[in-house]
C-alpha cells in the first residue's frame, strides 16, 4: 500500500508539469573579482542567474563563463562580502569589486524542507558560526557547540573520550522522555544522531530551529527543537585539495589534593585506633610522627597521563556547472587522560550532485564512520557500591604502605589489608585490566532527485538509509575487582560478555515547492509534501561466567557457563503530510503558516495521528518609509510566532501490555533447570497520546551601522502538556509503573545574541559574537493529587533517598535534603562525668540515637522544631539549573595572523559534589581509605570548628545534606586558536592556495569556586536529576599544533 501511495503522488506531480520557454543567443564573458584593496577574491562564485551555469574565481581572481545569454545577469558572491548582481548587457569583460559585509544579511538559511533568506524568516533560528566552531580541537561537532547559540544548552556528563553530549534547546520539555532535539542532516531526519558519524570539517552549516514557526514543519518530532546540519558539497571549481593535520597533547586540568601518609595515618588513628595500631602503629612500635617521611603512593599520578591526540582531515572538492563532487576523509585518534581509555574515529564521505538535462538534478551522499571507544566508563560504577567507581577507588586508596609490608606494592593487585567488609584492590591494576570496548559503524546513504516541473514548481524526491551497528564487549579477568576470585562478592568468577545492536532507518520524502513572485510586491512560497519513515532496532548478546581459562580473553567466553542470553528487536513507523506557506508583501510584512500531520505507529489506533500547526508573523520596520531617514538602523524586524509541536519519544509498543519470559521470574521445580516465568512486565495504556508543546515566541532583529552591530533578542514561553510519564501505580495493581499522559511543564526564557565589529581597520579587525540565555522551568501539573515528584540517583546503595524534588509550581529539579548546620559543639552537651557528654534536652538530634551524638558530630537544622531531625525536616537545598549560560567568541586578525578566543560560562547553578560526601569527611565511615585534604580540617577537641565533622561523626548514613552543595558557576576560556597564514604571493610559487599554521587550545582555564575537578559535570544527567558529580571523568586541557594546506 505504501508503494501505491507514493506512486499516486508522483503521477499527480507529473500531470501538473508544463514546458518552459526556449533560450536566446550566447557570448563568452571574462572578469576579475577583487576586494576594495585590490586583493583577488580567490574562490568567489559566479552564477548566471536563471541557469545552472557558473564558475569560481581562480587564484588571481579571474574567471571565465562561456555561452551565456547576452542579456543575462550574473551574481558574484563570496563569504563575508556583499553579493552583487550585474547585468551582462552584451559586455564581455568585467572588473568587479565586492564590499565587505559585517553581517551577511542576505544570508540563506536552511530551514525545514527548504531555504529562506534570513531577512524573510519569521521564526527563531539560531546559527552556528562554523568558522569558529571547526577550530576547536574536538572529535565531534557537539563537543564544541556549548555556548555557540543562545537557547541551546550543551552539556556533557563528563569528559570521557567519546562520551555523549546532551543538547537541550530552550529547556527540557519532557520530564522523563528524551529531550534531545531532532537532527536533520542534509534533509534526513534522525532522532538518535551519532555525532561521531559526521566529521566537523565536513559541516557547512548548523542551524538551530527553536520556535514553533520553525519547528512545526517537523510536527511530532519538533517539540525539542531541530538541529539542521548541511554538509559541504561539491563546488564549481577545479579540484581543491585541502589537508589538515593537528597533533597535540592533553592533560588533566586539576587533580584533587589528598592526605599525605602522615595525615592519613593520623586520621586512621582518630577513626579506628585498634585498626590503625594493627596496620600502622603500635603493633610495629611506630607512632604517627614516623609517617612524616613515609613514601607517599600518589595513585592519581599513576591514573592520569599526558595523552597524545591527533587528527587528520583531507578533502577534495570541485566540479563544473553540471557535476559537483566532494570527497573527504578523516582520522581522529585520542588517548584518554586516564589510563586504558581511548577513542578512535575514522570517517569517509562522498557526495555527488549531477544535472541531467535542464530540469533534473540527482545526487547522493555516502557517509561511513567507524568509531571505537575503549576503557570502562569512569563515571558509571561497576557495582552498586561506591567502591565500584574507578576515580573513587583512586582517591580512596591508602597512600601509605602498611608497616609490615615494607616492599613496594604499587604493582600488586590485591591489597593485603583488605578485610571482608572493606575489600580493595589496586585501582591502577584494576583499571588497566578491565576490557570494555564499543565499536560503532555508521553508514548513511542519502539520495535525491529534483525535477523542475515548470518554472516555479520543483518536485523533490529523496530516499535515505542510515544504519548503525554497535558491538560492546567486556571481560572481567581475575586481575579486576569484578572478576577476581578474591572478591567475596564475586559470584561469577571470571566473566565477560558481548552485545551487538543494530539500528536502522529508512526515509522517503516527496515535496513540491512552488515559489512565485506574484508581482513586484507579493511573493509566495508553498511547500507541500508526504514522507514515510521506518526505524528498526535489534540486539543480541550473551554473558558467560565462571570461565575456567582466562588467558584467551574474550575468546574464552565459550568455555564459560552461559549466564544470560539476550535478544530483542523492534520497529516503528511514521507517515506524515506537511505543508508551509510563506507570504511576503514588499519584504515588509511576512507571514509563515505551517502544518504537519504525523501518523506514528507508537500510539494506539485511536491516537495514531497528531496535527501540529503554527503561524509566524514578521514586520520589517526598517523597510518602512518612516524609517528611511534613520540611517544608523540598517535592519529592524519584529517577529512573533505561535504553534504546537509534539514529542513522540516513547518506546515502540509502549501502549501495549507486554509479557516477558525469563529465568528471573521463573521457578526451579524438583531441582531442575528453572521453568521460565511468563509475567506481565508492563500493563500498557491504550489511551496513550503524544506529548504536545505550545510555544509562543516574540523576537526582534536589529542591525545598526550597516550591520556592524547586530542584535537578536527572543522571549518565549512553551507549555508542554500530556507529558509522557512513566507514572507510578499503586503496587496493589501488581505493577509499579505505567506510561501515562500526565502533567504539564512550562519553560520560558530570554535569549540575546549580539554580533559586533568593534574595530575595523585596513589591517586589523576585531569581531565579537556574544550570546546569553536565561531559562527557567516550572511544573504546572503532575499526577492527580501529586504535589511533588521525588527523584533519586543511583551511585551507592546506602544512598537511596531522593536527592531531587520537582514541586508543583516550582522548577523541574531542585536539590532536596537536610540543611547542614555545622557540628555539635561542647556547648550543646552536659558533661555528666569526665569526658562523657550527653546532648542537652533542648538540642535536637540529627536522627541518630542521642547516645551516639558526641561533640563534633554533624548537625542538621531541625526545621519543624520537634527536637529530632527526620524526613519532616527535608528542604530544598540548592538549584541545579543555571540562571544564565552563554558564550563569547572574539576573532582578532592582523594581516596574516588571527586569534580566536572563545569564552563560555554558566551562572547560578549548584552542583551536588558527591565526591566530598565520601572523601571530604567520610560519610560512610570507611576505614583504611584516604580522604581529600578537606578532612584534615575535621572537628577535633583542638579544632572545634563547624566545617568537617569529627572522625566517625558522620551522622545517619544515607542522608543528603547541603554541606556538599557547591556553587557550580564557571567562566571558561574554552577555545583559543592562533593562526598564521602564509602570504599568498609566497605560497603560490609552490602552487598552494593556502598554507596556515595554528596552535589551538581547549579548556585552557576555568574560573570557578567549585572545588571538584570540573564544574561542567552532570554524571546522572536528566531533566529531573541535573548537576550531580560523582567520579566524573575530568575534562582534558588540550593543546594542538596544526597545519592546513590547500592546493
Amino acid at each position: 500500500m505504501k508503494k501505491l501511495c507514493i506512486l499516486l503522488f508522483l503521477v499527480t506531480v507529473l500531470v501538473n508539469s508544463e514546458q518552459i520557454s526556449a533560450q536566446t543567443a550566447t557570448i563568452n564573458v571574462t572578469g576579475k573579482v577583487v576586494d576594495k584593496s585590490g586583493e583577488p577574491l580567490v574562490g568567489a562564485t559566479i552564477i548566471v542567474l536563471g541557469t545552472n551555469t557558473g564558475t569560481v574565481a581562480d587564484r588571481n581572481g579571474f574567471f571565465t563563463v562561456k555561452n551565456v545569454s547576452a542579456n543575462a545577469e550574473f551574481k558574484i558572491s563570496f563569504l563575508g562580502y556583499q553579493s552583487k548582481t550585474i547585468p551582462i548587457n552584451g559586455k564581455t569583460i568585467f572588473s568587479i569589486f565586492l564590499d565587505e559585509d559585517y553581517q551577511t544579511i542576505e544570508e540563506i538559511v536552511v530551514v525545514g524542507y527548504g531555504t529562506q533568506k534570513k531577512t524573510d524568516i519569521t521564526g527563531s533560528v539560531g546559527q552556528v558560526n562554523m568558522k569558529d566552531l571547526v577550530i576547536a580541537p574536538v572529535a565531534t561537532f557537539d563537543q564544541a557547540l556549548a555556548g555557540r547559540v543562545a537557547g541551546v544548552n550543551v552539556t556533557s556528563n563528563d569528559g570521557q573520550p567519546g562520551s555523549l553530549n546532551n543538547i537541550v534547546i530552550r529547556g527540557g520539555n519532557s520530564l522523563t522522555q528524551s529531550v534531545a532535539p531532532l537532527y536533520v542532516v542534509d534533509g534526513f531526519l534522525i532522532e538518535e544522531l551519532s555525532s561521531a558519524a559526521i566529521n566537523p570539517q565536513d559541516i557547512a552549516s548548523i542551524n538551530v530551529l527553536k520556535d514553533a514557526s520553525a519547528t512545526a514543519i517537523y510536527g511530532a518530532r519538533g517539540a525539542n527543537g531541530v538541529v539542521v546540519i548541511e554538509t559541504k558539497k561539491g563546488i564549481v571549481s577545479k579540484p581543491i585539495i585541502t589537508y589538515n593535520v593537528s597533533l597535540g597533547l592533553q592533560q588533566v586540568s586539576k587533580t584533587m589534593d589528598l592526605m599525605t601518609p602522615y595525615e592519613f595515618v593520623k586520621y586512621q588513628n582518630d577513626l579506628n585506633p585498634a585498626l590503625a595500631n594493627s596496620l600502622y602503629l603500635s603493633n610495629y612500635g611506630l607512632t604517627v610522627e614516623d609517617y612524616k617521611d613515609a613514601t607517599a603512593y600518589n595513585w592519581q599520578d599513576m591514573f592520569f597521563r599526558t595523552a597524545p591526540i591527533q587528527k587528520h582531515d583531507i578533502s577534495i572538492r570541485g566540479g563544473n556547472a553540471d557535476t559537483k563532487y566532494s570527497v573527504s576523509g578523516s582520522l581522529f585518534n585520542q588517548d584518554g587522560i586516564i589510563i586504558n581509555s581511548d577513542y578512535k574515529k575514522y570517517s569517509g564521505r562522498i557526495s555527488l550532485d549531477q544535472n541531467i538535462g535542464k530540469k533534473t538534478k540527482v545526487g547522493f551522499i555516502v557517509n561511513i564512520a567507524e568509531t571505537e571507544t575503549s576503557g570502562a566508563p569512569i563515571a558509571a560504577g561497576s557495582t552498586g557500591a561506591v567502591t565500584g567507581y574507578a576515580l573513587y577507588q583512586v582517591w580512596n586508596f591508602r597512600p601509605a604502605a602498611v608497616a609490615n609490608i615494607p616492599e613496594d606494592w604499587a604493582n600488586e593487585f590485591f591489597d593485603p589489608t583488605a578485610t571482608s567488609g572493606n575489600w580493595m584492590v589496586n585501582p591502577i591494576q584494576n583499571t588497566n585490566n578491565e576490557v570494555n570496548t564499543s565499536q560503532y559503524t555508521d553508514v548513511n546513504v542519502s539520495t535525491y532527485l529534483s525535477y523542475l516541473i515548470f518554472k516555479d514548481l520543483i518536485l523533490k524526491i529523496s530516499g535515505d538509509i542510515y544504519s548503525r551497528t554497535t558491538q560492546n564487549v567486556f571481560f572481567h579477568n581475575s586481575m579486576t575487582a569484578l572478576g577476581s576470585p578474591l572478591n567475596p562478592n564475586n559470584t561469577k568468577g571470571v566473566w565477560g560478555g558481548i552485545t551487538n545492536w543494530k539500528s536502522g532507518t529508512w526515509l522517503n520524502e516527496n515535496t513540491l515547492t512552488y515559489n512565485k513572485n506574484l508581482d513586484k510586491k507579493n511573493t509566495i512560497t508553498i511547500v507541500g509534501g508526504f514522507t514515510i519513515q521506518e526505524n528498526k532496532s535489534s540486539a543480541f548478546g550473551l554473558v558467560a561466567d565462571l570461565i575456567p581459562n582466562e588467558e584467551l580473553g574474550l575468546s574464552s567466553l565459550g568455555s564459560g557457563t552461559p549466564y544470560s542470553n539476550s535478544s530483542s528487536e523492534s520497529y516503528n513507523r511514521t507517515a506524515s503530510f506537511l505543508g508551509r506557506v510563506n507570504y511576503s508583501y514588499d519584504s515588509k510584512y511576512l507571514i509563515t503558516v505551517t502544518g504537519r500531520a504525523d501518523g506514528s505507529s507508537k500510539f494506539p489506533a485511536s491516537n495514531k495521528w497528531g496535527y501540529f500547526p503554527s503561524v509566524g508573523l514578521g514586520w520589517r520596520l526598517s523597510q518602512e518609509s518612516f524609517m528611511a531617514n534613520i540611517k544608523d538602523i540598517s535592519n529592524l524586524k519584529i517577529r512573533a510566532s505561535y504553534g504546537i509541536t509534539g514529542n513522540n519519544r516513547v518506546s515502540d509498543f509502549g501502549y501495549l501490555p507486554v509479557i516477558t519470559l525469563n529465568n528471573v521470574s521463573g521457578y526451579s521445580f524438583d531441582n531442575a533447570i528453572p521453568t521460565q516465568g511468563a509475567t506481565y512486565s508492563s500493563i500498557g495504556n491504550p489511551a496513550l497520546v503524544w506529548e504536545s508543546t505550545k510555544q509562543t515566541d516574540i523576537g526582534i532583529d536589529l542591525g545598526l551601522f550597516n550591520n556592524r552591530v547586530s542584535l537578536t533578542a527572543d522571549i518565549y514561553r512553551k507549555n508542554t502538556y500530556d507529558l509522557l510519564l512513566n507514572a507510578p501505580l499503586p503496587k496493589t495493581t501488581g505493577f509499579s509503573y505505567a506510561m501515562k499522559n500526565i502533567g504539564e511543564i512550562q519553560n520560558q526564557g530570554l535569549e540575546l545574541t549580539l554580533n559586533l565589529v568593534p574595530v575595523k581597520t585596513k589591517n586589523f579587525t576585531w569581531n565579537s559574537d556574544f550570546n546569553i540565555s536565561f531559562i527557567s522551568n516550572k511544573i504546572i501539573g503532575l499526577e492527580r493529587g501529586q504535589t511533588n515528584m521525588l527523584s533519586s540517583v543511583t551511585w551507592d546503595w546506602n544512598y537511596t533517598s531522593p536527592l531531587y524534588i520537582a514541586r508543583l509550581n516550582g522548577p523541574a529539579a531542585m536539590f532536596y535534603g537536610y540543611i547542614w548546620d555545622g557540628n555539635y559543639q561542647y556547648a550543646d552537651f552536659n558533661e555528666i562525668s569526665t569526658g562523657k557528654y550527653v546532648l542537652k534536652g533542648n538540642v535536637p538530634t540529627n536522627g541518630l540515637a542521642k547516645a551516639t551524638i558526641q561533640p563534633g558530630t554533624i548537625k542538621y537544622k531541625d526545621l519543624n522544631g520537634d527536637g529530632v531531625v527526620n524526613s519532616l525536616d527535608l528542604a530544598v537545598i540548592g538549584r541545579p539549573l543555571p540562571i544564565h549560560t552563554g558564550g563569547w567568541s572574539n576573532n582578532f586578525s592582523y594581516k596574516n595572523i588571527s586569534l580566536n578566543v572563545f569564552l563560555q560560562w554558566s551562572y547560578g547553578n549548584d552542583i551536588f559534589n558527591a565526591n566530598r560526601v565520601l572523601l571530604g569527611g567520610n560519610a560512610l565511615n570507611r576505614v583504611n581509605t584516604n580522604q581529600f585534604v578537606e578532612t584534615n580540617n575535621r572537628w577535633t577537641p583542638e579544632n572545634q570548628n563547624n566545617e568537617v565533622f569529627r572522625a566517625g561523626g558522620q551522622g545517619p548514613i544515607g542522608n543528603y545534606d547541603s554541606r556538599t552543595i557547591e556553587d557550580g558557576s564557571y567562566l571558561r576560556i574554552k577555545t583559543v586558536n592562533f593562526e598564521y597564514r602564509f602570504p599568498s604571493k609566497l605560497i603560490s610559487k609552490f602552487k598552494l592556495t593556502n598554507l596556515a599554521l595554528n596552535i589551538s587550545a581547549e579548556n585552557l582555564f576555568t574560573f570557578t569556586k567549585y572545588t571538584g575537578m570540573d564544574p561542567e559535570v552532570s554524571t546522572r544527567n536528566s531533566v529531573l536529576t541535573p548537576g550531580f558529580d560523582f567520579s566524573a571523568y575530568p575534562r582534558a586541557k588540550t593543546i594542538l599544533f596544526g597545519v592546513t594546506v590547500s592546493f
Binding site: 500500500m1 505504501k2 520497529y571 521463573g666 521445580f669 521460565q676 495493581t733 505505567a738
Partner: protein
Amino acid sequence: MKTKNIFFCFLFLISFTSCNDFLDTKPTNILAPTNYYNTENQMNSAIAGVYDVLGNSELYAYGLMVRFASVGDEGFYRSSTVTQGAQFYNETASDGDVLTLWTQLYTGISRANVVLANINKANMDSTKRNVMKGEALFLRAFYYFWLVNNWGDVPLITELPKNVVDNDIARTPANEVFEKITQDMITAESLVPPITQIGYGGRISKSAVRGILARVYLRWAGYPWNNVAKYQDASDWAKKVIDDTQANHALNPSYSQVFVNLAQDKYDIKESIWECEFSHTGISADEMGQIGSWIGITTNDPGIGTAYGFINALPSLYNSYASGDLRRDRAIADFHYLSNLTVVTYWNRYDYDKYSQSVGKWRRSEETALPKINQSTPINFPILRYSDVLLMYAEAQNELNSSPPQSAIDAVNLVRERAWSTGINTITLTTGGSGYTSAPVVVFSGGGGSGAVATATINNGQVITVTLTPDQITGLTMGSGYSTDPTITFTGGGGSGAEAVCTIHSKQEADILMMSKEEFRLFLQSERSRELCFEGLRKYDLMRWQILVPTLKQMANDIITTGPSMYQYAALSFSNVQEKHYLLPIPSSELALNKKLVQNPGY
C-alpha cells in the same frame, strides 16, 4: 483547475487510509497477553511466575528471616552500623524493605490473578488445569496471608486492573481477607494432588495446603482478631495431615538431617512438606537464594561458601535447650570460622561468645552443588515441616480444651523425642592414673550404642580431664543408640591406671508430663522456638499470643543488664518495640497513590 483540486483531495484521502495500514505495526519481540496463555507450556510458565515470588528477596530468599520474622526473641541483627529498618522496629512508612515486601506480595497476587483469568483459555489437559487452578488459588491466598499477617486490613484484589487511571482501592477488613484466604485454600485442597503423587516438596500438595490452613486458622484465632472458634479449624486441618495414611508423614529420625537435606537438595516429603526451592549456578543463577549466607555461619572462605550471617542467635534461646536436646547445636552454630581461613574454632560458651553465635541451621559447608557461589546458595527453605503441624495441633487442642488432651502431649513428645540424644550425657574421671607421656585414647564399649568420641588431657603423667570431642555437624560427639551406660577404657599414652565412668541421655528425658492448660501454653511458646527457630515464624507467633512487646522488652532488659558491652547495641531492636509494631506501616508511596488507603495507627 477545479478537477485538479478534486484529484489532489482524492489522492490525499487514499494516501491517508493506506498510511494507516502502514502504521499498524505488530510487535515482533514482545509477547502480547492476547496471544498468550493458549498452551499448557505457556500456562506452566505463567504458574512458575506465581511460584517465583516465594523466592523473592523479602520473602524466603532472606527477607523474612533477616528483616521481618527472626528478630523475635531468637536472634538479633549482627551489624552494629545498620540501625534502621524493620529488624530494629523503627521502620517508617517510607522504609524500603517494607515497600518491597508489600510490592512482591501484590506482584504474586497479580500473577496468580492472571493465571486464574486465563485458566480456562488454555488448551490443556483438564486434570492439569485443575491442579494449576488449585496452585494459583492457594498461592494467591498464601500471599494474602502474608499481607494480613503483616498489615491487617489490606486491599483485596482478585482481578487484573481494568486501566491505569482508576486504582484507588480501600482496605478490606482482615476478617474478610481471612475468609477469602481460607475459602480459596479449601478449594485448592480439593484440586491439588497428594504429596506422594508429586514426590518432592517444591509444589503445592494436599498436605501443604492442609498444614498451611492450620497455620492460617491459628493466626486468625490469635491476637488481634482473637477469633477463637478457628482453633477447631486449625486442629482439624493439622489432624488431616497427621492422619493421612497415604502420605504417612513422619519426622526424620535426625533433626540435623532435615537441614542437611535442604542444603543438598534432597527431598524428604515425610517431614519437609513444603519447601521454597532455590536453584544453582549458570542459567539458573537467577533463582538462587541467600539461605545459608545471609542467615548462616559467617565466613569469607569461598571453599565453604562465603556467608555474611546477618543474624546472631540470642543467649536466651541457647539457654532454653536442655543438655540432651540435639537441636541446640544444630540451630546455633557451636563453632565459628576464623577470618579468611577454613579453621573451625569451637566457642568457649562464655557469655561473650553466646552473642557471637551464628544461626547454624543452614550450613554452606554441607552444600554439594559446585562451584559454590559467593553469597548465593541453592539451599531450599522449609516453609512447612511436619513438626510444625504436630505443634500446631497440640496448641489448638490445648486452646480448645480445659487442659491439654493426651493427643496434644503425645504430639509434643513426638517432636521432642526425635530431637533427643541417646548418647553420652556426663563423663566422670574417677582415677587419673600415672605415667602418661601423651594423651591416651578414650574407648567407649558396650551400652548398645556407638559414635561417642572423647578426648583426654594429661598433666604430670595424670589424666586430668575427659571431654566429648566437638563435631561440626552434630555438635558434641555424644554418640547415639545407647540404652545402658557404656564402659570407658584408656589405651596408649604410655601410662596406666586412669579410670572413668559415664552416664547417658535417654529419649524419656525429653517427654513432658501432664500439665495445666496455661503451663502447656507457656511450654509450647518456648518449644516452638526450640524446634522452629529462624524459620520465619517467631515474630508472628509472638504476635498472635499478644506477647511481642513484653517479650522483646524483656530481651532488651536482659542485654542491657547482663550482655557484654560490645553487644549492647543488640538491645536496640528490642527496646524500640511498641504496640504499633503488631502491624507494619502501609508504605507511604502507596498512601500517595491510592487515596482510599488509611495508615495503620502509630505511623
